[in-house]
Symmetry: C2
Subunit: 306 residues, 2 copies
Amino acid sequence: MAVRIDEVHRFMEESLAAVGAPLMEAKAQADLLIHADLVGHFSHGLNRLELYINDMKNGICKPAARPVILKESAATVWVDGAHALGATVGNFCMDLAIKKAKESGVGWVSAKGCNHFGMAGYWALKAEREGLIGMAFTNSAPIMTPTRSKNSANGTNPIAMAAPAGDGDSLVVDMATTAAAMGKVEIQMRKGEKIPEGWALGPDAKLTTDAELAFKSGRLMPLGGFEETSGYKGYGLSVMVEQFCSDLSGSNPSHKVSGWSYTQTQPPNMGQCFVAIDPERFAPGFQGLREKSKGLPGSLQKSGAS
Amino acid sequence: MAVRIDEVHRFMEESLAAVGAPLMEAKAQADLLIHADLVGHFSHGLNRLELYINDMKNGICKPAARPVILKESAATVWVDGAHALGATVGNFCMDLAIKKAKESGVGWVSAKGCNHFGMAGYWALKAEREGLIGMAFTNSAPIMTPTRSKNSANGTNPIAMAAPAGDGDSLVVDMATTAAAMGKVEIQMRKGEKIPEGWALGPDAKLTTDAELAFKSGRLMPLGGFEETSGYKGYGLSVMVEQFCSDLSGSNPSHKVSGWSYTQTQPPNMGQCFVAIDPERFAPGFQGLREKSKGLPGSLQKSGAS
């Protein structure tokens, strides 16, 4: 059975409104989730609606709350997300980053008091549509086991970057700093297939290729996998994301962020970071430069690498 | 035989001066190289002196040149490195990024006309010593083979970040976006040992564990290795670095940067990017926050991850 996109959007909007989201906020959250489905990131779309609604029912997400500016300078803003919906905080913060980038060349916004903001690339693309380079980062509940550790400490801590390219195209990088997302482990589990070596550790903190064991263990390996293939680099990147998200904003660090559950009573208080850079402040022909490299050997400069 | 550090420094300084570097520039370049040796990055220290000197003899590095500001706004500077020594351009650009960060919260500097700037972490640490978060990026000659490609297109394109921590300590991430640096392949070759799967491809663009073949092939794999272990993420990161370095600055992209050789006649015209962020513009207690997380399970927040 096929369902029209606008019908899915209406369903999400009204569901969110039914548990207390103001209409504008419900629409923005539905826009965020449907974008993920439209670009094929089904793990971050409609399938998560129930989790967002549950967070609102539990009172750990406050859909009518408004984010607040705590400190501001020419190129920076420190924000309290006030536990509002992910899309409410994302739009508030990226609008500020865009404004600062247009005024000062760069806008760097870090926010505490955040809930899940969906796919990170959505926020980077918001700046890209203004002709800017956009970046977005978030921390998350600890399911990544650092190199030489037995237990998980960091989140999947994604890095997203989007930049305008020629012919109305864009370059998008949107990636967890783990080797693979937990959603990919789940897919292998449902198919009854193994996972590759280097994705995850079992509950004994040793290599596993058993998808179900990996799913239950919650010990994803950092990008790079084992130490001999430089897994500590993925770990280093996740720590860099932690700096931008929790250390700058004063939010919970990853290891104190609670995972999504139906019995949660404390807001996750995640940290998020939104950056916009105006390429017009640098060499002329930013989009044109990339245009010229089209078709060169191995060039992915015009297509996504997420 | 042990040689005193100050004697090594004097040797480097006088060698650089002998082929035309002004005394200040020779000293700065010697400071950069000796730092790498002191922190154990022997691949980026004294062993490279001959390459820098050769570049000056060939006239592709112009040691008396001064970098020039081409465009400037509250938080950004576009610089022409004028093919000066790596340390000359690095100091010029990071000093500007630091100044902008102190004035506007963030300083973002992209430069064209660059030569090799040594270890990227050295430049990030320059901002860290001012109480700022520092970042540094550079592109380089193409020795990384993108996912699904047969030939190399991008450089090792490193990402470096440094941030002040408690007790005078610092957090440093300094990593090539390839699975392993070519220097590591070279070490395995000299030891007559194999390299792990996921480091490099042979001349046929297929997996090799033969260090000598990998060294001659010049086809390093991106961080993450093969596609099934998310090598496209390392590739995506190297493209992100390319944006900051060559697309913003108008320098050569990686695939046009010439490798170090004794017969080179054209300047490499690399692109480099230097960023400083003032944590005081965000939540109070930036260093203290990290301090509190010391000793938590899996926390690497106080030590380097390079």
